[in-house]
């Protein structure tokens, strides 16, 4: 057991991981027999898990060291040359993810108590939420690729179960299948990536793989392909182009599930994975990542403009924001991408839960059925507005800091490699579009006059169990980025620290014992880390693509200033346009739609991705199957039948020979044996004592012979 993790920390982390699993097991077996069908139990268990997660998080805040990492590793399978271990890696990124997953999961549990009140499979729903939380926590805690892959599939499974929660509805069960199969396609790539690394390096552990990369044991195109393969997993799970098609359909699941899995945590797992394995992506692989993310961000944002279903609009917004994060990681903005992952988790979970609250009130997901709900649902409206401001990048809110950081990183990258300046420009446009479509949702849902009087009359504010999560998330959507702690703690790792010249400190920061946390705290609190992070330019530590140096710090600083100003302008423009279209109604959206009918059709059909896949992938598969069947019927069957005819003719001859010659011999032998047997059977009387007599007689004879002959 290799460890530098204190035992109490191991206990806490294992408890954090296993409590939701316990909730799952109890719900599955006894859920319906518990009072209130056990919702308090699941919520309580995840609550304890959350409290422990927050304790761990505060502990890392207390240490406040960018290189802080603790690892514990146990041998698991050890057969011949095949060695696999299991372990927990706990660093600042893990701490942040534990807290994010815990908070969102707990609040979604709470919200679900109200939202799914009286549901047919209420306790099973909470059980599934439990196994999802377990797998997601395992995903962020594990220290090797094998465990990552296992938990990766487990979150896919729980996503499948939860999307298909109302499986009586065909669209829901179809969506569940589509989500599972589509993400599986990406996972095949991920598996190939893992196997490339294992075949070459013989290990699954992150630190050992990084050490091998640092030592140049693996490199060049092999490493690029491994990286691209692993990224395929992220394409599937994080709904990146071209495998994004499952996420909008996944909105068939209950809305709190959409908030937890399809907005805040599982879809962010791909981003987390790319961040966690950041060191093994070559510049080429990162470029692929950046452009895939860029295509996704732009495409999804443009689709979101024309959606009329509030959840679909949010789903495309999620895809677009995930593209943002992926792009940020691709251009080397490690901190920026993961920062946006955290802030997005809070405000997007809030948006989804807010939309859930609205859907709960008006029993429709179509925005044309809504309007004017502000007065009926003040808490939902104000929290939703806060989240919208955050996602639009209005200064002061969490989304502003992270989005601004991404734009800064992409501009810095573009200034260094001018051919890639388009990344920054398109991201900037996307930022404006994001502000536009999000405010469109707000205007259509909460402002203006009610379009469906009957639904409006029945609308009401949701119960406290639903509004409290909204309020908590609103506070986090505003303030989670304040103070610059994230930029100071989650810093892009350096490959150099993994060189095996020093095998022992392969775990970064391993030499600082927990006991010295106090002094260490003082040591890091010097002037270099924090003020830099608190500065309006939050990218004090951000370097550009692998190999970027700090020499052009001034240029980077200027890039971030430009990025900040332009991003505020873009957001403002987007909000202004949305207001003009849907608030003042100065322009008519209807006229624009008629003018640009072709564009509108293209967008509302989501660029025909589903149709292209139906024709291209499904159609091709069907065509290949039919061709294969025809081949089977005519060629294979013909060959088989022909062979059968010849075989029959030959067999007849063989049969003749067999019956006369062979059987004659066999029967002759058998007859002889029978005749002998008839004689010998007399010996077998069936009486044990006869046999014993024979035995004793032989023994006596042998003894006698030995006595007489003396040997």
């Amino acid at each position: 057991m290799a460890t530098n993790m204190p035992a109490d920390m191991v206990t806490s982390l294992v408890l954090i991981l296993l409590l939701p699993l316990a909730g799952f097991a109890i719900q599955m077996f006894f859920g319906t027999r518990l009072p209130r069908k056990g919702d308090w139990l699941s919520t309580g268990l995840i609550g304890i898990s959350l409290v422990l997660g927050i304790v761990m998080f505060i502990r890392t805040l207390g240490v406040f060291d960018a290189g802080y990492a603790r690892q514990v590793h146990w041998p698991w399978i050890d057969i011949g040359g095949f060695r696999v271990g299991m372990g927990i890696l706990f660093d600042n990124l893990t701490a942040v993810m534990l807290m994010v997953v815990g908070i969102v999961s707990f609040l979604v549990h709470l919200f679900s108590i109200g939202y799914l009140h009286g549901d047919v499979r209420y306790s099973r729903y909470f059980g599934y939420l439990g196994i999802f939380s377990f797998s997601m926590l395992g995903l962020v805690l594990c220290d090797n690729l094998l465990a990552l892959y296992v938990f990766w599939e487990l979150v896919g499974l729980s996503s499948y179960l939860l999307i298909g929660h109302w499986f009586e509805k065909k669209s829901a069960s179809d969506a569940a299948k589509k989500a599972f199969l589509t993400t599986r396609i990406g996972d095949v790539g991920m598996f190939i990536g893992i196997m490339i690394l294992y075949a070459k390096l013989g290990t699954f552990r992150f630190d050992e793989i990084f050490a091998a990369v640092a030592d140049g044991e693996i490199g060049g195109s092999l490493l690029t392909w491994a990286g691209v393969g692993l990224f395929c997993g992220a394409i599937g799970k994080s709904a990146q182009f071209p495998l994004h098609v499952w996420l909008p359909d996944a909105m068939e699941g209950p809305t709190p599930v959409s908030a937890l899995i399809h907005a805040a945590t599982m879809v962010a797992a791909g981003v987390y994975m790319v961040g966690r394995l950041f060191l093994l992506f070559t510049p080429e692989a990162l470029l692929v990542i950046a452009y895939i993310g860029l295509i996704t961000a732009v495409m999804a944002a443009s689709i979101a403009i024309v959606q009329t279903d509030i959840k679909k609009a949010l789903a495309y917004s999620t895809i677009s924001q995930l593209g943002y994060m992926i792009t940020a990681l691709g251009v080397g903005g490690y901190t920026a991408g993961l920062f946006h992952l955290m802030t997005h988790a809070f405000f997007k979970a809030l948006l989804f839960l807010g939309s859930g609250s609205v859907i709960h009130a008006v029993h429709s997901q179509e925005m044309p059925d809504m309007g004017g709900l502000r007065k009926k649902m003040p808490v939902t409206f104000w929290t939703f507005l806060v989240a919208t401001l955050a996602i639009s990048g209005v200064p002061g809110l969490s989304g502003f800091f992270s989005k601004d950081m991404i734009l800064g990183a992409s501009l810095a990258f573009g200034m260094e490699h001018s051919s890639h300046l388009i990344i920054f420009l398109l991201l900037l446009v996307t930022a404006g579009v994001t502000a536009f479509y999000m405010f469109r949702v707000v205007f259509l849902t909460f402002l203006g006059r009610p379009r469906d009087e009957e639904r409006y009359a029945h609308a009401h504010e949701s119960p406290a169990v639903m509004t409290i999560p909204l309020t908590v998330l609103a506070v986090l959507a505003v303030g989670s980025a304040w103070g610059g702690w994230f930029q100071a703690l989650v810093v892009k790792p350096e490959l150099g620290q993994y060189r095996t010249a020093a095998v022992a400190p392969a775990v970064p920061g391993g030499e600082h014992g927990e006991a010295h946390a106090g002094e260490h705290h003082e040591a890091v609190h010097d002037e270099t880390t924090i003020p830099d992070a608190l500065h309006a330019d939050p990218e004090g530590h951000e370097t550009h693509v692998a190999g970027g140096d700090h020499a052009d710090h001034g240029a980077a600083h200027r890039a971030h200033q430009i990025a900040m100003i332009t991003s505020i302008l873009a957001a403002g423009l987007g909000i202004l346009l949305a207001w003009l279209f849907y608030g003042r109604r100065l322009f008519s959206a209807e006229t624009v739609r008629r003018r640009l009918a072709a564009v509108h059709l293209l967008l509302s059909k989501k660029y025909y991705f589903d149709e292209i896949y139906a024709v291209g992938v499904v159609g091709t598969t069907l065509w290949v199957s039919r061709a294969a069947r025809a081949f089977d019927t005519h060629v294979v069957d013909g060959a088989v039948n022909g062979t059968a005819w010849r075989a029959r003719g030959f067999s007849w001859f063989i049969g003749l020979f067999d019956n006369t010659v062979i059987d004659g011999m066999v029967n002759g032998v058998a007859g002889t044996v029978t005749a002998w047997g008839r004689q010998f059977r007399r010996i077998q009387t069936g009486k044990i004592q006869n046999y014993l007599l024979g035995l004793v007689a032989v023994a006596l004879i042998l003894a006698f012979v030995r006595l007489v002959r003396g040997f």
Binding site: F680, R681, R682, I683, Q684, T685, G686, K687, I688, Q689, L692, L693, V696
Partner: protein, 101 residues
């Protein structure tokens, strides 16, 4: 002190008595008793040789194994006898010749 031969003679006598019992009796339970005699004659030999020829614990351990095995054997054999009785309403081994050739 009694010489080794004394024990061996006792053991031989026990063995022969047991063998005789097993070979001549018709009653299955009596046969089992004969087997016990044979086993115990072996035990006597084990202990005797352990005492006189190889002063270590192996012989004793073997004897204890034999006792345990004998207990298990008796349990199984009595179960067989019981089933036998249920089936043919007798425990006379001469009537049990279903395996005759």
């Amino acid at each position: 002190m009694i010489p080794l031969q004394g024990y061996l003679v006792i053991a031989a006598v026990l063995f022969v008595l047991g063998l005789f019992c097993v070979m001549t009796r018709r009653n299955a339970v009596t046969i089992l008793m004969g087997i016990e005699l044979i086993l115990n004659s072996a035990n006597v030999n084990f202990i005797a040789f352990a005492r006189y020829c190889a002063p270590d614990i192996q012989g004793h351990v073997f004897a204890i194994f034999v006792i345990i095995m004998a207990a298990a054997e008796a349990a199984i054999a009595l179960a067989i006898v019981l089933n036998l009785y249920k089936r043919i309403n007798s425990i006379d081994v001469d009537e049990v010749d279903m395996m005759r050739g």
